[in-house]
């Protein structure tokens, strides 16, 4: 009886909770994308795309480079996640900040950093740039879960004779498997739909479906081909989701909520976490360091001119000041977080099927961009030039990731706590506010940081939106780097370096 009531209660709660997120996504995502599809999809074009050898090659390249990128990211990211969620040591916070920061950064910054080091374009630089961006995803999604694994279970396994690797396979992995698969899927999708990195590091021969969609739609004006490619891309991603769903284990074990535990370093592992972190940081930080280096060194000598110019407020050749650029970016980021986090929380609290909310991952940014311009162009919703549309789009894009980041925390709240609260006289809503929310606080903070991060670095879908006078950081950096004149470029690198340093600083605290 109690179980039936609990379930019934949960289900009705589900429907009401989901109204806001569903309406939001419908208006700002489903409708624009469907509009694009309706207007520009031709089945004939689709079949000619499928039969085109070069385009099939593009699809194949998109696939295999995404798989390899994902594997490399996991290879670097999982051990680093282990080290950071199990050990605290001096410098751990900074290391975490470095590993997590690149997610914010616009592709042009990271790619330029990689290019400065490798001095060549091609597959290896692309893979490297992908790892730099995506280690952060692994850390953010697997990290909280891993730190919730009860250490005593590992102790028990050790006393039963299991060496560390078997302990991992038999005892730890079942608890983090879902999170790892979730993270891996996301990394795959980000690498598969990679655009900025491919644009700069791909050279002529390396193209992904996403960059081809953009090229066809924008450079060559073939919107029908672009839409056909977008459909192909969406089909592939949907397939990936379906496959992953089969791999997922049955509903996750309800773990006891434990605070992240600081484990005393064990004798056998004393150096290992440090080495792992050092390697991860070296891989991720070197392009960033290269950018900072570029901002400080001209003609072989150190010069602070670029930084001085930056802090004097004016940006050479641009008509905006540093202050307005930073303010604009921050305002957009905060607005995006205010929209995204509450909606994500609503979704994460229910056990609704994730399909609808994963859609922004499935559909290419270019398609969304086109959809936005052609949809919101007549009153009463002629919103396409409205400034607030930008943070809204950021929120749409951030939603799938933020939901996934909140899930481990919302799932780990045992219903016994709510029962306890109920017996103490609190209504379901009050229980939720006083019990759930206070437990979720750290996760909510992280989620806010994450959605702000996504907003700060977003460049793809919103590049289709016009704005007047609201230049964001990625745009300012791209503009500075896109003009001749040593002082201008140095300012661009300095701004990028500033963004890196601030991000690392903020992420170390988050």
């Amino acid at each position: 009886m109690a179980e039936y009531m609990e379930r019934h209660h949960l289900v009705s709660k589900t429907k009401t909770l989901l109204i806001a997120p569903v309406v939001f996504l419908s208006i700002f995502f489903v409708v624009p994308v469907t509009n694009t599809f309706l207007r520009y999809f031709r089945f004939s074009e689709f079949s000619s795309v499928l039969s085109s050898q070069p385009l099939r090659g593009v699809a194949w390249f998109s696939l295999w480079q995404a798989v390899v990128s994902t594997l490399l990211t996991l290879t670097i990211g999982l051990p680093a996640t282990w080290a950071l969620s199990r050990f605290t040591f001096r410098g751990a916070r900074l290391a975490r900040g470095i590993l997590v920061a690149p997610f914010v950064l616009p592709a042009v910054v990271v790619a330029a950093g990689v290019l400065a080091i490798t001095d060549s374009r091609g597959v290896t630089p692309i893979l490297w740039a992908h790892v730099v961006f995506n280690v952060s995803v692994v850390l953010r999604i697997v990290g909280p879960r891993w730190s919730m694994v009860n250490h005593r279970l590992e102790h028990a396994a050790a006393t039963l004779g299991a060496r560390p690797s078997r302990t991992f396979t038999l005892v730890v992995w079942p608890h983090i498997a879902d999170a790892v698969i979730s993270a891996a899927t996301l990394v795959f999708i980000y690498c598969f739909t990679s655009f900025g990195v491919i644009a700069i590091l791909g050279g002529v021969s390396r193209r992904t479906l996403e960059s081809e969609i953009f090229t066809q739609a924008v450079r060559l004006g073939n919107t029908t081909t672009a839409t056909a490619l977008a459909v192909l891309q969406a089909l592939i991603i949907s397939l990936v989701f379906l496959v992953v769903r089969q791999l997922r284990r049955s509903p996750s074990l309800s773990l006891h909520v434990s605070a992240p535990q600081a484990l005393r370093t064990k004798p056998t592992h004393r150096l290992t976490p440090f080495i792992i972190i050092a390697i991860a940081v070296a891989v991720v930080a070197s392009p960033l360091v290269a950018t900072v280096y570029r901002s400080l060194v001209i003609n072989g000598h150190v010069s602070f001119t670029a930084w001085r110019t930056l802090f004097s407020g004016s940006l050479p050749a641009l008509s905006v000041s540093l202050q307005s650029v930073v303010t604009t970016s921050l305002v957009f980021a905060i607005a995006a977080a205010c929209i995204c986090v509450p909606l994500a929380l609503l979704v994460a609290t229910t056990s609704a099927p994730r399909a609808l909310f994963s859609l922004p991952l499935v559909v290419s940014a270019a398609t969304l961009g086109i959809g936005l311009i052609i949809t919101f162009n007549t009153s009463p919703y002629a919103w396409r030039s409205e400034r607030w549309l930008i943070p809204v789009v950021h929120a749409v894009i951030a939603l799938p990731l933020v939901i996934r980041a909140l899930e481990p925390a919302t799932r780990a709240i045992p219903s016994s706590l709510r029962h306890a609260s109920a017996t103490l006289g609190a209504s379901p809503f009050i229980s939720w506010v006083r019990v759930d929310l206070s437990i979720l606080k750290p996760a909510l903070l992280r989620a806010t940081g994450l959605s702000m991060a996504i907003s700060l670095g977003e460049f793809g879908a919103t590049s289709f939106l016009s704005r007047s006078g609201s230049t964001t950081l990625p745009i300012a950096i791209a503009q500075l780097l896109g003009r001749p004149g040593v002082a201008t470029q140095q300012a661009g690198f300095a701004l990028a370096a500033l963004m890196i340093i601030i991000t690392v600083g903020v992420m170390s605290r988050a």
Binding site: H155, A156, A158, T159, L160, A162, L170, H175, K266, P267
Partner: protein
């Protein structure tokens, strides 16, 4: 036979254990008593290798095992909270140590059955561990620790948090089991009754 010699554990500058020495003859039970926070659990963790020892050694049957990693020491631990693996059934928990030793399925099943009978819980073989009562959890944790036939068994407050009747029954059963199997064991407890059921008692002072 277990011998602890001048064992010290220092962590972050704080001395938790300071030159502890005692011997436990083979097959006998030792009770470790003392006030809360004196380091009884840490002592057990140090003996089975889960905590780094700053000074001193641990000997099992004359062999110094201080440098051997925890999973190779053959010392079983039953923790205060049982720590059963939530993703496995009762049987799977108990046979864990046997899987590690690559015993055959037949061997494992036989041994699990044997142990379940010893602790009088044969009916729970395929039960999910999240649905067990406190007493059941302790028994199964004990069975799990006993399955790989450890040379030494450590029990950390095995009877705490139980009602008097369950406590009494469990205590009787456990001591009977330890005596039947003649396992060298150390029991951390703050119950005088249980301490007196052991062969020897060691008191830790701050």
């Amino acid at each position: 036979m277990l011998k602890v010699s001048n064992l010290s554990v220092v962590f972050d500058g704080i001395t938790i254990l300071d030159k502890i020495s005692f011997t436990v003859p083979t097959g006998s039970t030792l009770a470790v008593v003392g006030p809360s926070g004196v380091g009884k659990s840490t002592l057990l963790h140090a003996i089975c290798g889960l905590v780094r020892v700053s000074n001193g050694s641990v000997f099992v049957n004359e062999t110094d095992i201080s440098a051997i990693p925890a999973h190779k020491r053959g010392i079983g631990l039953v923790s205060q909270t049982g720590d059963l693996f939530p993703n496995m059934t009762v049987s799977q928990n108990i046979e864990f140590g046997l899987r590690i030793k690559h015993k055959t399925k037949a061997d494992r099943t036989a041994r699990v059955q044997e142990l379940l009978e010893m602790i009088n819980l044969s009916s729970l073989a395929h039960r999910n561990v999240m649905q067990l009562s406190g007493g059941e959890v302790r028994r199964i944790a004990l069975a799990r620790a006993l399955a790989p036939e450890p040379r030494v068994l450590l029990l950390d407050e095995p009877f705490s948090g139980l009602d008097e009747a369950t406590h009494e029954q469990l205590s009787k059963d456990v001591f009977q089991l330890l005596s039947d199997l003649s396992i060298t064991s150390i029991i951390v407890t703050h119950e005088i009754i249980d301490a007196h059921r052991c062969d020897e008692v060691v008191t830790l002072k701050k």
